[in-house]
Symmetry: C2
Subunit: 193 residues, 2 copies
């Protein structure tokens, strides 16, 4: 077994490796936000992050591996709220998503990932995981509401999720109209009608 | 005034110019469908179309001008149906859009245009015109229904369009779930509730 003094340098090295990995991923994500997948280069990541290209290639053997790893950071899942009513839960989730759609870096990167996913199965898989993360809290509160009888047990949860998220995504990326409280109210009222 | 014999060669030349313009635009659109905006090159358009690069650059001084012109072909507007009822009109429009979303070349190109539009005002303008074309028939039948009292005069037409198109776009580009008749019925029923 290693003694503490023997272990110290290795821990220090691990921390340094971890720190540079983190720097590279953060820079990569920043670059993706600015220029999308197509304009992404390892050269530019190296230049901006100050991490040597050889070090970057030691962790990510190809440009694609780094892009995919940076995109994977977008796979997050909002925690499902529990306000006591389906409408309250849905409203809390949509307000949070509306806020993120208008402020989060991923909202600038997602069209590029979707575009790449149209032609590249590896990106289609990453996008599918990001997408499932976005839909998961709604699925959870809808299933919970069905469990306690607030929603019909025959309700088509996937269709309701599309009716709730679709109009918000439409306004963010297609019509570019504001997503305000009045709009959220209208969407929730109709989707849960 | 030019006599017919004098005009003939010029007409013939115009037809040839028109034909090569058409070939270049069709090839450009094909390339966009395959690789999106980012991978588009004039070299490849020249190679595939058989039209010389010098000829292409005579019509489109830059790569961007050609990409934008090719994307402009996507600006079309479905004719608004008139079935006699709002529900019938909306259903006819959504069935046509659902079909196009799953078959038309533009449905593969649109994410790339949206991605580029996030950063480029000229593409944002093209995308906005494509988008208005997609929404126009729904706006027309909704306004017509409001005119004859089938829809409240206070109804928020923009919100209803988002409620109708959003879920379809969501299934095509985000969740990649099928857009079947049952789904269309659910969307229409809720959006017009």
């Amino acid at each position: 077994m290693a003694t503490p003094t023997e272990r110290a340098p290795s821990n220090k090295m691990n921390r340094r490796v971890e720190r540079s990995r983190h720097t590279v991923l953060a820079t990569a994500f920043e670059l993706l936000s600015e220029g999308g997948v197509a304009r992404f280069t390892v050269d530019e990541v190296a230049r901006r992050s100050g991490v040597a290209k050889t070090t970057i290639y030691r962790h990510w053997p190809t440009r694609e591996a780094l892009v995919i790893d940076a995109c994977s950071q977008m796979i997050t899942q909002q925690e499902a709220p529990d306000t006591g009513s389906l409408e309250g839960d849905v409203k809390a989730i949509l307000m949070e998503i509306a806020h993120l759609l208008q402020t989060a870096n991923w909202s600038f990167v997602l069209p590029s990932i979707i575009d790449t996913a149209e032609r590249d199965p590896e990106f289609a898989e990453i996008h599918s995981r990001i997408q499932r993360g976005h839909a998961a809290p709604l699925r959870e509160v809808l299933q919970r509401a069905a469990g306690r009888g607030e929603l019909s047990a025959h309700a088509d949860v996937s269709a309701i999720v599309a009716l709730l998220l679709g109009p918000l995504f439409y306004r963010r990326w297609f019509s570019r109209e504001p997503i305000d409280d009045q709009f959220l109210e209208a969407v929730i009222e109709r989707a849960l009608a």
